[in-house]
């Protein structure tokens, strides 16, 4: 009820507002809130109806000592049910049970979508590895399958160079020469 939403007026404050026990500032704030908050206004209306019934019952008691408690309780129940109906008709109020039912679905959909995207990406990467390579790599393979080539080198903090040693048949053997800066280990 009111305690579930921090912006709503508490029951205690509504009751005090109804009883005229709030300070001027508090009452002004409460009125301002009630103008824009239908649930709190509905609760205040319920309080007022309940108050009317009690007043009516008291008057009846004064006039006739034979109190009709059955009627009084029926009126109270009716007022309470009207209060509940007024709250459930608010479009921005979702019962907690509905939220819980919706949450797993809402969480599952993006997770499944992400899984599917990841699977597709991995599938494409794997296929590019398992299929025969194309482009420059494939052309080199067709030209000379016995050719060894260096495609990347990082020397770190050492200096170094890459060169080829020409051997027979026009082939060249790659050499990575590191200028060893370390003391002998």
């Amino acid at each position: 009820m009111n305690g579930e939403h921090p912006s709503h007026l508490t029951k205690e404050k509504l009751q005090r507002h109804h009883d005229g026990e709030l300070s001027e500032q508090e009452a002004a704030d409460a009125r301002q809130h009630l103008r824009t908050c239908a649930p709190c206004q509905a609760e205040l209306d319920a309080l007022e109806r309940l108050s009317d019934m009690v007043r009516w019952s008291t008057d009846e008691t004064a006039a006739n000592s034979d109190v009709d408690f059955t009627r009084m309780f029926a009126e109270i129940e009716r007022a309470v049910s009207q209060d509940d109906h007024a709250r459930s008709s608010q479009p921005n109020v979702i019962p907690l049970s509905q939220k819980r039912a919706a949450s797993p679905v809402m969480r599952a959909v993006p997770a499944l979508g992400a899984l599917a995207l990841a699977a597709a990406a991995i599938l494409m990467l794997n296929r590019s590895d398992t299929l025969p390579s194309d482009g420059g790599e494939q052309q080199l393979a067709l030209l000379d399958a016995s050719h060894t080539e260096i495609t990347a080198v990082k020397f770190g903090r050492n200096a170094g160079q890459v060169f080829g040693i020409p051997i027979a048949d026009g082939q060249s053997v790659p050499v990575v020469w590191i200028d060893d800066e370390d003391e002998e280990e």
């Binding site: 699977a119 398992t130 390579s133 050719h147 060894t148 770190g156 040693i165 990575v176 590191i178 002998e184």
Partner: protein, 173 residues
């Protein structure tokens, strides 16, 4: 649609997706697991300028490697084979070889090419220090090895000859 039907539909979609993922990944992972390792060979040669007693020029076991008969390798007076190791390179798994200077040569097969060559990553790490050679990526053939040289060791220079590929015959020596 009631919430029960909605949940049922979502469950069905989820099951279909899981089945689809299994259909993709199980054959791929099985294919990768079944992919045979690529043989590789690492020769560790000590090149030295000194003409020590007992040194006999180029080690006889290196005579079939043509590159060693050319500069700069033929400028050394001795080329001594310290070790010749034959290893299998499973895909995406690092294989380590300890070098005579205490450093570690790491080989990793990136992929096999259709022509039998192998794309291999090579690095040299030092114990408890930054990597000595962080990365060398080579498309290697089974013919002449490629070389990584320059490390100082025992008064000479280490020359590492590496070759890898499906055509390499790993016979015990």
């Amino acid at each position: 649609m009631s919430s029960g039907q909605h949940r049922g539909a979502i469950s069905s979609v989820a099951l279909l997706l899981i089945a689809w993922l299994c259909a993709i990944f199980v054959p791929l992972s099985a294919a990768r697991a079944d992919e045979p390792a690529v043989p590789a060979e690492v020769l560790v040669v000590l090149a030295s300028g000194s003409d020590e007693e007992g040194a006999q020029g180029v080690d006889a076991s290196l005579s079939d490697i043509r590159a060693l008969k050319h500069p700069p390798f033929n400028e050394y007076k001795t080329l001594k084979l310290l070790s010749r190791q034959k290893v299998q390179l499973p895909r995406d798994q690092s294989v380590e070889i300890t070098l005579p200077n205490g450093r570690t040569l790491v080989l990793r097969l990136v992929k096999k090419l259709p022509d039998g060559r192998a794309k291999v990553q090579v690095s040299i790490s030092r114990p408890n220090r930054k990597e000595y050679l962080p990365l060398l990526e080579v498309i290697a053939s089974t013919g002449e090895p490629f070389f990584v040289a320059g490390q100082r060791y025992d008064g000479g220079t280490l020359v590492l000859g590496i070759r890898a590929g499906d055509g390499l015959k790993l016979t015990a020596r």
